[in-house]
């Protein structure tokens, strides 16, 4: 069995199966199929659906959440989670509103929004990586803390004196029906897709999520990678805060309430394993589109938002349960 002298070792192929066959079996294709079906159903259900302006408006319902979702996807793949993202939005928005009161210009406001995101992300990151606390609990705490600070600052008041050009981030159009937010969404999809799938950093994120101990033994600085991921999630929450605040034109402490669970739902529906180690940005993009289309399509039929959420909740469980159910039934048959 040992290597015989002179014999040429067996050559291993790079890939087991051809690219097309692998793609066909992937989660993303399943999701894309569902997305197409929903798209077709929508076109049948309402004559208003296929209007470019309407579709453009509809994207605003998910772009901000999806932007956070990209960073959250990386974080969840690494085996952590951040439930404080909506709290960060509230705090960042409050900070921007506060600065706007004192006449701060648009560039300064954006910087403040992003800076609050960084600080909050760093706070989460330090608690998780330095003190070794479980991220789900830490961020349940910081979720209340961040939003709570907004409540302390604002109470029942609102900030609304934003400069006119600030509105561009939430209401501006880059080209025809392509809104600034949609552009940003596409841009971040590419950036995060690139980061996760084509860089050393992304590879390390997968390795950590799959087996943090083996990753440590492989020379990956696990705490540092996780810290960066918390910072990224914080920054993206800051970006979302800028867009949402600009879109609403006002800040109240209840802004973006309960978004954290919607964002996690989007990420998990996109095929990111909640246990870490698996998932893709493409999946998250498609999941965002699915949720956006369901919301918009049912909205056109004046179906209340809460009923739409039954659909997303059921979809979430169904897409994860079905493959396992089928496996279970097959196993039952063979044994």
């Amino acid at each position: 069995m040992s290597i015989a002298e002179g014999t040429k070792p067996r050559r291993l192929p790079d890939r087991l199966s051809s690219r097309p066959s692998r793609i066909l079996k992937s989660w993303e294709v399943l999701l894309a199929g569902i997305a197409i079906l929903i798209f077709l159903a929508n076109t049948q259900a309402s004559p208003y659906f296929l209007n470019p302006w309407n579709l453009s408006d509809a994207t605003l319902a998910f772009t901000e959440k999806a932007m956070i979702g990209f960073a959250m996807a990386l974080l969840i793949i690494s085996g952590e989670i951040d439930l404080s993202v909506a709290g960060i939005i509230a705090l960042a928005s409050t900070a921007m509103g506060f600065a706007a009161q004192y006449g701060m210009g648009t560039p300064g406001l954006v910087l403040i929004g992003l800076a609050v995101g960084v600080v909050c992300g760093a706070f989460n990151g330090v608690l998780v990586t330095r003190l070794g606390l479980p991220s789900i609990v830490v961020t349940i705490g910081t979720m209340s803390l961040f939003r709570g600070i907004s409540y302390i600052i604002l109470g029942d008041q609102a900030y609304g004196d934003y400069p006119d050009d600030f509105a561009f981030f939430g209401r501006g159009y880059v080209f025809w029906v392509i809104s600034f937010e949609l552009t940003l969404f596409a841009l971040f999809a590419l950036i995060y897709g690139g980061l996760l799938h084509f860089t050393n950093f992304g590879r390390q994120v997968y390795a950590i999520g799959n087996n943090a101990t083996a990753a440590t033994f492989s020379g990956i600085r696990v705490a540092r990678v996780k810290m960066i991921l918390f910072l990224l999630t914080g920054v993206m929450s800051g970006v979302a805060a800028v867009c949402l605040t600009a879109r609403l034109g006002s800040t109240r402490p209840s802004i973006a309430f309960a978004w954290e669970l919607e964002i996690v739902t989007m990420v998990v529906l996109g095929g990111v394993s909640i246990l870490g180690g698996a998932g893709s940005i493409l999946g998250v993009v498609i999941a965002a589109l699915i949720i956006g289309m369901v919301t918009f399509g049912l909205g056109l039929l004046n179906v209340p938002g809460i009923v739409m959420s039954i659909f997303t909740g059921a979809l979430l469980i169904a897409v994860i349960a079905l493959p396992r159910l089928i496996l279970l039934i097959r196993k039952g048959r063979t044994s």
Binding site: D14, F198, A214, G219
Partner: protein, 506 residues
């Protein structure tokens, strides 16, 4: 003990038991008999199949073939409870205890005494626990939280747990591994008492002194097969060692003509608050340094501190004369020191990632450009090293988790060789892998040493240590006990040094 009893029918008998796992046959047509009032020692190297056997006897695993016969009737143990109910109890080698529960509850979990309304009677449970602990001479308060105990006391609790059921068969899987000398003596007394009560005892141990002290019978396993059995009185330690390592004696290790060169690595007065102390050694270019000792001797801990996984409290590491500051594995890797860990599944391979990505993980700096991965480079690097190790896989994008143990190990070794290290530490490099893969790994190790790579090989397998090392260091209880040159070194010397048998030094 009457003579008639020794020839009496066994309480428990295994016949033709076979158990296979994907890629590995753990047990093959194994026979075993346990007699009332007698201690049967089960002897074998790591990976010989002892632990699998224990799991089959306690209902954790079900055998693929063969029979378990209790009192002459064939039985099946579909769960742990079933085995307990059949009167079989075990002290497991790995901790199967609960840190967050009290000592009393750890002893009685699953069969706690019930009081009124069928509720658990805590008072009685504590009393009973105290009684059992007292019986084994353990001075532990049953109300203590298990997590607050040291590893030795935890082991005593595990023993108490095994004795809390009224069993006829008691399995002890390396029961003295973590005990102090005084505790070991008390355990021996306990074994005598259990014998007196007519219980059949299966005693698994590496330590020949204790086998000869307390066992009545022996059974030797090697590579999942039963190779010998008989009465202790009819054998000698040398014979048992030979039986135990027999196969490996015959195995051909690569011939190594190359002479070690200059000193590469020097470790001085290395210490850790809890794991090891006073470790000093050197390593030369092209040398294979064997590090031998029993499980728990602190070998892996020294190596992991050297690699930066844990922080030593004291000591110096010099590479080519320069003092290194190693705070994390990344620092060690940057300096050309790499570590192939013992626990493949947890520390070595990332099962859900493809082969090529596993191989390139510590080398991403060289396969990437400006931080971006280059798949073609990755495949090339992965192919280069996996093919040299004769990896058996379908393709390089196959997930490592789907490979056999031996092939997983090749991937892990390939991963480290791809970093082109100066020093490679191999922790139990051939543990639990098949003979063919073993040979490939050994041959490659020799080849690497010949090319000037310095190797530290941690191993519990005596033939491997003897067959591969230029020099051998033996550790026991976190300390270096002896250092040996390859020439004239015998298995017995090593076993004695590691077990502390017949004095301290060899």
């Amino acid at each position: 003990m009457k003579d008639t009893e020794t020839t009496a029918t066994p309480v428990l008998r295994l016949s033709g038991v076979t158990k296979t796992f994907p890629g590995v046959t753990a047990l093959s047509q194994v026979e075993l008999a346990l007699y009332p009032g007698q201690v049967t020692a089960l002897i074998g190297e790591n990976g010989a199949g002892k632990s699998t056997l224990v799991k089959i006897l306690t209902g954790i695993y079900q055998p693929d073939e063969g029979q378990i016969v209790v009192d002459g009737d064939p039985v099946r143990f579909p769960s742990a409870t079933a085995a307990t109910e059949a009167g079989i109890t075990a002290i497991h080698q790995e901790t199967v205890l609960f840190d967050e529960l009290s000592v009393a509850e750890n002893i009685f979990l699953g069969h706690a005494p019930r009081g009124r309304f069928g509720l658990i009677d805590w008072a009685r449970m504590r009393e009973d626990a105290a009684a059992i602990l007292d019986r084994i001479g353990a001075r532990i308060d049953p109300r203590t939280l298990l997590g607050d105990l040291g590893i030795g006391s935890k082991h005593l609790v595990a023993i108490a747990r095994a004795l809390s059921v009224d069993a006829r068969v008691v399995i002890m899987d390396e029961p003295t591994a973590s005990l102090s000398q005084a505790e070991i003596e008390e355990l021996y007394d306990l074994v005598e008492r259990l014998k007196g009560e007519g219980k059949a005892i299966l005693f698994i141990s590496h330590k020949f002194d204790e086998v000869f002290r307390i066992a009545d019978r022996y059974t030797v396993f090697r590579d999942g097969e039963m190779v010998d059995a008989g009465m202790i009185a009819d054998t000698t330690e040398d014979k048992l060692v030979e039986k135990m390592v027999g196969r490996s004696m015959d195995a051909i290790f690569p011939t190594r003509e190359h002479k070690p060169g200059d000193e590469v690595l020097r470790v001085e007065d290395f210490a850790h608050p809890t794991e090891f102390d006073g470790i000093s050694f050197t390593l030369r270019r092209g040398e294979i340094l064997g590090l031998y000792g029993l499980v728990g001797a602190g070998r892996s801990e020294v190596m992991q501190a050297l690699f930066g996984v844990t922080r030593p409290s004291r000591g110096q590491v010099r590479l080519n004369g320069e003092t290194l500051r190693i705070r994390a594995p990344a620092d060690a890797i940057a300096n050309g020191i790499v570590y192939v860990p013992e626990d493949r599944g947890k520390q070595g391979a990332i099962g859900a990632m493809p082969i090529f990505q596993n191989v390139t993980l510590p080398s991403l700096g060289t396969t990437s450009k400006a931080g971006f991965v280059r798949m073609a480079e990755e495949f090339a690097l992965a192919r280069k090293y996996t093919e040299r190790l004769d990896l058996r896989a379908s393709a390089l994008d196959q997930n490592v988790g789907n490979l056999s143990g031996g092939n997983q190990q090749k991937v892990v070794i390939a991963k480290w060789l791809a970093t082109q290290p100066a020093v490679i530490i191999l922790d139990e490099p051939t543990k639990g892998i098949d003979v063919g893969s073993k040979a490939a790994v050994h041959e490659f190790m020799a080849e690497l040493a010949a090319k000037g790579l310095s190797v530290i090989m941690v191993s519990s397998e005596i033939p491997e240590i003897l067959g591969m090392s230029d020099r051998v260091i033996v550790m026991r209880d976190g300390l270096m006990v002896s250092e040996h040159d390859r020439d004239g070194l015998t298995p017995e010397t090593l076993v004695r040094a590691a077990a502390g048998y017949e004095g301290e030094a060899a």
